[in-house]
Symmetry: C2
């Protein structure tokens, strides 16, 4: 806060930890801490409880690699999902984003990152072997590679495709093109080129 102390070290520590959350800076962390303290019963107590529960219960699903409070996770246990459709994502955040889109009724496989030789991340650091195993053993008809449209994402997709070659499965990837609501004027040349190449009949 300042050089002089305005409150006990416990409050300073709470502010410092809150400031490490994405989206909160030092200033908003102070505001959040004060808000929590003022709304002790309505917010601080329940949030402390919820975090305690998360500490205790949250883990990684041994089947798909997402985070959940049960193992296998909620999605892997959901019998209402199509067992033949498997969506491969880099990260849990991508899984959540795709679920919000609400188009698919599939299961997922979280790689846990992308191949990045410069950062020392090789195939053995990602959940690729377990993906191949899952496809080999399961009744999976299609694997959708829903990775980011970055160099690392596409490199990883290529590698995964290679690993799945020879197995009886169709491998697909997301369409590239103009984002819904996007203005051509603001798009980069690469996206426009892809959108033109992949044009469809009106």
């Amino acid at each position: 806060m300042a050089n002089r102390k305005v409150a006990g070290p416990e409050i300073e520590r709470l502010i410092q930890l809150l400031a490490r959350l994405p989206g909160l800076g030092p200033r908003s962390a102070r505001r959040a801490a004060l808000h929590l303290i003022k709304k002790k019963d309505q917010l601080l107590v329940p949030l402390a409880d919820a975090m305690g529960v998360a500490v205790e219960k949250v883990g990684v699903c041994s089947v798909c690699g997402t985070v959940d409070t049960s193992d296998p996770c909620t999605i892997c246990c959901d019998d209402g999902r199509d067992p033949s459709l498997l969506v491969v994502v880099e990260d849990v955040a991508d899984l959540w984003a795709l679920e919000r889109a609400g188009v698919l009724n599939a299961r997922y496989h979280v790689l846990g990152g992308t191949l990045s030789p410069l950062d020392g991340i090789g195939p053995e650091d990602l959940n690729i072997a377990s993906l191949v195993e899952r496809v080999r053993n399961g009744a999976i008809g299609e694997v959708i590679l829903a990775v980011n449209a970055t160099v690392e994402g596409q490199t990883t997709a290529l590698y995964v495709t290679d690993q799945l070659a020879g197995l009886d499965v169709t491998v697909t990837r997301l369409a590239h093109g103009v984002p819904v609501g996007g203005e051509l004027d603001h798009l980069d040349e690469g996206t426009l080129a892809q959108a033109l190449k992949a044009r469809t009949r009106f």
Copy 2:
């Protein structure tokens, strides 16, 4: 998240509670929750602990009305501060902001809001009686009314001044004027008028 569940209710609840923090919306709350879960040992565990400590220890100082883990608070117990200088603020956030400015070496009195007849907030809802008592009993030479430059703040300042009339104390208020770094072109007429009226010799 979506109509279909992608994780156990404990994670959903964590996200919902995080979304109630100022500065975090539903989207950033999801990001924060995922960040916490991924950084379990480095962030989630310490933050849950810090919140637990706050739940247990944080309270309101019986002397000045700020929040702290001790009563009387860190500031009220700080012998290095000038006991004759008392700064009256609306809220704990204002106290913290003034301490960051680092100009004063004073003690504080937190009113806990402003007079607002429309919202049913009268003098008895604020820490005004305790302020008068403190000034009457203490060796306080100057009371600085550091309230917001809003109608409610100024009304409250007037009322407090009235209550302190007759006591042997100088009551002062913050200067109005051009904010440091401010451009005249962007300032409202009221601020400019005050800055002109209170002009000082160069």
